[in-house]
Amino acid sequence: MKKILIIGASSSMAEHCARLFAARGDSLYLVARNQEKLNSLQKDLSVRGAVKVSTYVMDANDYKSHSKMLDNAEVTLDGIDTVLIAHGTLSNQKNCEQNVDLTMQEINTNGLSAIALLTDIANRFEARGKGTIAVISSVAGDRGRSSNYVYGSAKAMVTTFTSGLRQRLYKSNVSVVTIMPGFVDTPMTAAFKKGPLWATPSKAAKAIIKAIDKRNEEVYVPGFWGLVMLIVKLIPNGIFKKMNL
């Protein structure tokens, strides 16, 4: 049995990960903004086999509340084995371009709030010399594209930050897993037209769990996105700037 903290637990991908954790009898501590959603997750995950499911209401953008939540999680779970940071919003790029406040808010939610959490969690795990920190970043962070560079730049920050953190914590036996999902059919992407490149949240969750269990690096979900993004990154700027991606 593992003791798992999930931040952004009501996101579709996180919920499907939680179902897999529950099925193997893990103990869960769920953090999200909405108590009503947490209540229905709590009941569901208990039936699915979780030994214990606790909930905590928090807005990740409220940095001051992070350490109290983490203290509480450590006490309730009696130590944390794995943290999954999964909260986020898919920014409306066009609206962000016209609105500084909205852009800052999106960067906060998708980038800075994760950085704040990671900073605190890293110190706790480093001191104990064990644990796994998994963060859902995005392929959007690999290269800025006109269609979603606000969201992408926030995720780029998360990817770069965790890359450095992984090096630092390697010595302390703490794994840092950066998950890079491609297109996943979740409410966040409800407005998009779906095609063969799209994965279901339950498929994505299986890959995420596998990564959390076995890897200590950047993991593309599904795996072919590693190749796709490698190609995208290799396109020379002279050509890239003229493309419509």
Partner: protein
């Protein structure tokens, strides 16, 4: 987007909303009539509408009492999912239809039946409570005691009374997930009827019937009996599946290939053979083949299931089988089953007698054949299963579902009229 039922006929351009939480459902109420839809496994157009509320993401459990054997979950949880959780704890679904890829909401709306109907009745006879959203936006709880008129209209009500949000079911205790299966061969219709009667106490019974057999061989079939094993393992392996990659040319299934398959199948099975098999291949043989419906080609197919009352005897079934055999249009997958008496649910399909289900490739000959069969079934006092129907006329429906007017009165009373409607309900002349 274009949607269709499992038979791939007919299709409709629909606006599909997939709520994530139960409280998101009420938002759909004021935008015009719609129908709730689960896995889209009903064959015809009963889950087709211009506006559709797809429940597949309402797939959470609310409670599972492993001591008492009761389970409460949201409408979009599939029977497959439920089985994966309850079987290892020594529980089973009280009634299972031919596929596990249906949601609990769909199972209730269709009041599905299984191989144990002659003993256990329909799925809804084991539902103890339903919470649902009415056309007024009100959330209500209904059960055989509380608002029982609404309960008996919703069970088997094809989603036309409101949106089923959650349901509580009473499970069946098992000691093993294995089934002890016995196969018996019957070389004519009298023989298979006799065997059904003789094995009434068998928990599960269903027959595969060769619909192309005619003359003396008419009614050639294999009866499959089943009992839950008394000892052994409790496990829920998902098992390997294969997928039909694309729509097959419809010509692959023709009288020649089907006849050859049926003969071979009948010869291969040995009489009075008993074996122990896992529950999945026993109850859900076709779930192993993803998208098997594509075998019938792009134009799709119609599954036709009717029941004839016991009182009219064997003659009616003989008449219909003769007609089908003469058409040469029947499929491999024809299933014969004995039903016990009907329940109180107003539009529930089963009535005491024998039911036959088979597939027809969709084409103009099928449409006219079904029209003729419909007329015969009306004359014989039988009826056609709404969950499989795509072609029935309003007259046939009203002549065979005798409680349709009462059904409409209860819908009126609970503000369903004008809020819940499907392509099927419009075709059948329901408000």
């Amino acid at each position: 987007m274009q949607i269709h039922g499992w038979g791939n006929y007919p299709t409709i351009d629909a606006e599909v909303t997939k709520p994530l939480y139960l409280y998101d459902c009420a938002r759909l109420i004021n935008g015009g009539p719609f129908i709730a839809r689960g896995m889209g496994r009903s064959y015809g157009d009963s889950a087709n509408a211009e506006r559709v509320l797809q429940t597949t993401q309402l797939d959470r459990y609310l409670d599972f009492d492993a001591n008492a054997g009761t389970l409460t979950c949201e409408a979009g949880v599939t029977l497959r999912e439920i089985l994966s959780i309850i079987t290892t704890k020594g529980w089973f679904l009280p009634v299972t239809p031919g596929t596990s890829f249906v949601t609990i909401g769909g199972a209730i709306a269709s009041d599905v039946h299984g191989k144990n109907h002659h003993i256990s009745g329909t799925f809804c006879e084991h539902v103890t409570e339903i919470t649902m959203l009415l056309g007024s936006g009100e959330l209500v709880t209904t059960s055989p005691i509380e608002k029982s008129d609404l309960f008996h209209t919703t069970c088997g009500g094809m989603g036309l009374t409101g949106v089923i949000l959650t349901a509580t079911i009473k499970l069946k205790a098992i000691k093993s997930t294995n089934i002890i299966q016995t196969t018996l061969k019957a070389d004519c219709l009298e023989n298979i009827y006799d065997q059904f009667e003789a094995h009434q106490s068998s928990t599960y019974s269903v027959a595969w019937i060769d619909c192309l057999a005619s003359g003396k061989r008419l009614g050639t079939s294999i009866l499959m009996l089943g009992e839950h094993a008394e000892d052994g393992i409790l496990e829920s392996r998902m098992g390997k599946t294969i997928t039909v990659p694309t729509y097959m040319p419809a010509q692959i299934l023709n009288p020649l290939t089907v006849r050859a398959f049926n003969k071979l199948y009948y010869t291969k099975v040995s009489h009075q053979k008993t074996s122990t098999v896992p529950y999945k291949p026993y109850f859900f043989p076709l779930d192993k083949i993803n998208d098997w419906n594509k075998l019938y080609g792009k134009n799709g197919f119609v599954q036709y299931q009717f029941v004839l009352p016991k009182a009219i005897g064997i003659g009616g079934m003989r008449e219909i089988l003769t007609k089908i055999a003469a058409s040469g249009a029947g499929s491999f997958l024809a299933v014969l089953k004995m039903f016990r008496a009907q329940n109180q649910n107003l539009l529930s399909f089963p009535l005491e007698g024998y039911t036959l289900a088979l597939d027809f490739k969709m084409n103009t000959e099928t449409v006219s054949l079904i029209k003729e069969l419909d007329a015969m079934i009306v004359d014989l006092g039988g009826r056609i299963y709404l969950t499989k129907d795509a072609l029935m006329s309003s007259q046939t429906f009203k002549a065979t579902y005798h409680q349709w007017q009462q059904f409409e009165m209860v819908r009126e009373k609970y503000k369903a009229v004008g809020h819940f409607s499907s392509a099927q309900s419009q075709r059948l002349g329901l408000l």
